[in-house]
Structure formats: C-alpha cells, structure tokens
Amino acid sequence: MASINQNALSNGLPDFRNLGVIARVLVGVNLLALGAVLAASSGWDDLLDRLMLAAGFIEPILLASVLLLVILSPMLVRMRFVAGASAVLVLVLAVTAVAYDGVARVFGVPVGGELARVLLLATMATIMLLGYLRLATKAYSPALAEARLQALQARIRPHFLFNSLNAVLSLVRRDPVRAERALEDLADLFRTLMSDARQFVLLADEIALLERYASIEQLRLGERLRIVWDLDAAPSDAILPPLVLQPLLENAVYHGVEPSIEPADVVVRIAQHGDRLRVLVENPFSDRHAHHAGNRMAIENIRERLMLFFDAEARLSARIEGKRYIAEIEMPYRPAPKAPRGAIAGARPEG
C-alpha cells in the first residue's frame, strides 16, 4: 500500500496552515495580551483604554505574522525543530519591528514603550506559543500510537474474520480458484489493517482496498448485499488518512445489511468538491445502529483519526434520513506530491 509521509507532526513544529493551529495562535496571543494588560492596569476604566491601545498595536502584528507563517509553512515543515522555531521567532520579531517603526512614524511617538521592550514581549509570546503547540503535538503522539493499536483491535472484527474464513473453507472444494482469490483479498486487507496507520495513503489504493473488502463480504452475504459505487468524481490522486473508508463501509455492512432479512443496498459515493473531498456511505437503518455501542465506537474511532490528521479541518457526521443511515466525511482535498520520495512505488497491491 502506498503511503506518503506528509505528516506535519514529524518535526514538532505546528502546521501553520491548519485552521485549528491558527485559531489556537490567535486566541493564545490575545489571552497573553489580555493577561499582560490586566496585570499592568490600575482599574477597570484604565483597563479598557489600555486594552484598545494594545489591540491596535498587537492585532496587525499578529495577523501579519500568521499570514506570513501560512505562506512560508511548506518551508518550515522541512526544517528541523530548532531551526524552524528560530525562523518563526526571527519572522515575528521582524514583523514587530516594522510595525513598531510604522506606528512610531504615524503617531510621532513610540506607543508601546521602547523597541527593545516590545521585542522582548514578542519573543516571550512566540516562545510560549511554540512551546505550547509542541507540547500539544507531543501529547498527541502517544495517542497516535495508541489510536493505532485501538484501531487495529477495533478493525479486526473477530466476527468478520471467522465468518470470512468459514466462507472461504466452503469454497475450497467447490471452487478452488475463487477460494484462492478470496484468501488473497483477505491477506491484502489484513496487511493494510496491520500497517503503519500514521501515514497518508492514496485514495486510489483505498478504493482498491474497499473493493477487496466488498468482494469478501459479497462471498458471505451473496445477493443480500448490493453495493452501489459512485466514484466517477473521485480524485484518485488525493491522499487521505488510512483506515477511514474501509471501516465506514464495514460499519454499513455490519449494522445495515447483516441484520436485514431483505436484500439491502449500500451506496458508496466519493467526490471532490473544490478543495474538499467528500465521502458518503449510506445504508438501510436498523435498530442495531441505534442500540449498538459498536456503531458509536466505530464512528468515534474514525472521527478521532480524522482529527489527528486534519485537526479542525475534517468532519464526520452520521445521521438518519427516513429509513437510511448516512455517514459522511468531509476533509481537505490534498493531491499526492508529484515526486514522492519513492513511497508510491512501494508494494502496491496488484489490481
């Protein structure tokens, strides 16, 4: 399975293009400013005045710095942590100095005190925020490893494994060729389920995996399972976190098709909408969805994985419309890099 290491968590610097990170920086700086003003002020009236003055000075610096960081983010991601952090600091200081100069010129008087003091404040704010964001990323790293383990356990539903093996056994004598193919599909599926879950994967490969999984389920469930594939608008060069699509489909089969006496159809729709990638899996709603803790757990699991990879920029919603259960994922569309470091040439399962 091809994997592309684009994980922004790698060097300890935050991904400045991530909305969640941007939000934290904006809130963080303003909180620090508020704290500083609160400490320096002598009363409530005075506080408001100082706050307005500080905001007028700080916000332009803040916004300009964030904008520059967003623009320079691809460069920063490639640096080591110390170099990257120093670069961020230098950048913030430069912006501050320019802004200070500008304000001093316009008003003819220094507003925020002497330049050195302002720069010192900016330095402290920057270091505190970088430190906080690094800690936050680090706090996620064990979570990531653990999430992988949990995902692995949640992924391999014993129910699915044993029933699939049983189905293959029934084929061995009657249709050995089909039995072979089914075992190969199972092997591919489990290889992926056990692979490193921390790397982005190609959508085309995820779709191939979905089809392997579907063919195993088809073997077991026969005409009870009908899958409608709507993949014409799927950008096959997109990259996405692993183990997001297949669990969604498995969930649909387990909760929507297996409990149903009548044949049931599952719709899988993957499409690109501008810079967003949308995935929809729809299946008949059954009571098992509502009552089964397994469904909630699977959905939570996928949601957590999306958050680890995309923070606030991806979302997963599950809803009931009439007699259908609809799970929908929206995430940023990211095309695979043109010349990945040999990753795509890896062991891609044969089509």
Partner: protein, 258 residues
C-alpha cells in the same frame, strides 16, 4: 440416520456444514431434512421437517439464535439444539454457564461429530435452561426477546412483541392482546414486566399495557367504592382498561413523558 436441520443466514456457511456432515458419514449417518436462512424461517419450517438435531447459527438477521431455540422448545417433540457461532463472547458465556452445546466457526468435522452424538443422547434442551441463558444474555448485551410464541398442534405461532397492546394476568395464564386477537401465554406477569419494562407500563395489579398504544384516559362512571377511577383508552381496540388508584399518578406521568 440422524435427521439434521441447518439454520444459518450465510449460504457458504450452510454449504460448509453440509460438506462436513458428508465427511463424517462413515462415523455417523446423517440426513439434512431442512434449511433456513433466518430464525423466523427456521421456526416456520422446522416442525414439519421431523428434524432430530438443529444446527443453529446465533447471529442471524431478525432474531437471535437463542430466542429461536426458546420458541422451538415449545414443540412437544422438539429437536436437540447445537448452537453455532463465529464469535459472540456473551452468547458463549451464557452457553457455558448453562451447559448448552455450541460449536465455533469454522467448525471442525471431529467436533461436529462429537456434538451430534452428544445431542442425540441428550435430546432437546430444557426450556428452563434456555430461558436462564437468554436472561443472562439479555443482561450482558441488552438484546431481549422480539416475539412471544405459542405452540399450536405441531407448529409455532409467533407474535411480535411490538404487536402486543396489553398483557393481563388471569388465574393461571396471562392473556396477551393484539389488535387482532387474544392469546394465552404460559408465563408470569411479573417476569414479563421485568423483561419488557421499557415497553410496557403497569396500570393495575394484574395488567401491563404497551406505552405506545395508550391513546388517552376516560373518567370511569364509578359509583360505589370502586378502585378504578380512570380507564385507559388503547389504540386499535375498543376495550377500556381500569387504572388502579395506586398506579394512576405514575401512569399519567409516564405517558405524559412520551
């Protein structure tokens, strides 16, 4: 020749069991007398098949295997039951606790032969044992009975729990009322209330009614020192049932909630 009935929702799984039964033919002669793809079908087809042993998958659509076994146990000359499961931890626990025989998928020929021989010797499971196991399973994974059942000559009539309007105790039996008709079930009202407490509400010492069947209340034209002051109006049946004074506050509150 041992007559075997196979119930499993997956066609390959049924095929595999048939294959294994052939394989053990030298050791134990068997004949497959019927198959079913789900519990309801099994209950429908099994009585006429004359099966001596039922190989019963427990994870089937519509009805859990343990419930299927409970309904089938109402037959006068029911089959022995061997449960089959791929992986249902809770069910296996309940089987172990109650010494019910089960096989794990994929099934091995030798284990199948041994289980069939045991089943042949032991005969059908006691209804009480199945009930205890089902109660335990309900406690661990929350899945309860979906149907009531009644044996009528050599067949089983199923009544979905959701069709029941009220259950009323009279002497030895409990009357089960649906919109269409009445049945008598051989169970205690207290046990039924415990099992279906979420669905029914007690309106009287001897009666529980389905919450979603309650349409309203009527003032009873009681004259003497009658206990009943209010009557429940129920969906789909003309009959009015008295609410006891003791239950009235709770009944009104519960129905108002929903």
């Amino acid at each position: 020749m041992l007559r075997v009935f196979i119930a499993d929702d997956e066609a390959p799984a049924r095929a595999r069991l048939r294959e294994l039964l052939e394989d053990i033919g030298a050791e134990l002669q068997t004949q497959v007398v019927g198959e079913a793809r789900n519990g309801i079908e099994a209950i429908d087809r099994l009585p006429a098949s004359g099966a001596q042993v039922l190989l019963l998958d427990i994870e089937m659509p519509g009805m859990h295997g343990l419930e299927v076994a409970r309904h089938i146990a109402r037959l006068a000359s029911g089959p022995a039951v061997i449960f089959v499961t791929a992986h249902d931890r809770h069910a296996v626990e309940a089987f172990e606790l109650n010494a019910l025989d089960y096989l794990l998928k994929p099934v091995r020929a030798a284990r199948l032969a041994a289980a069939l021989k045991r089943a042949q010797a032991a005969g059908p499971p006691a209804a009480k044992t199945l009930e205890t196991a089902a109660d335990q399973l309900r406690e661990t994974d929350g899945r309860g009975r979906t149907h009531f059942s009644l044996a009528e000559r050599n067949r089983i009539v199923l009544v979905p729990v959701s069709d029941v309007v009220y259950l009323k105790a009279e002497q030895k039996y409990v009357t089960l009322r649906t919109r269409e008709r009445e049945h008598l079930v051989d169970e205690s009202l207290i046990a039924l209330e415990r099992e279906f407490g979420e669905r029914f509400v007690r309106i009287h010492r001897n009666c529980i009614v389905a919450r979603d069947a309650v349409r309203g209340f009527e003032r009873a034209t009681a004259t003497e020192d009658d206990e009943a002051h209010w009557l429940v109006v129920l969906e789909g049946i003309p009959e009015r049932l008295p609410v006891s004074r003791r239950q009235w506050a709770m009944v009104r509150a519960l129905v108002a909630q929903s």
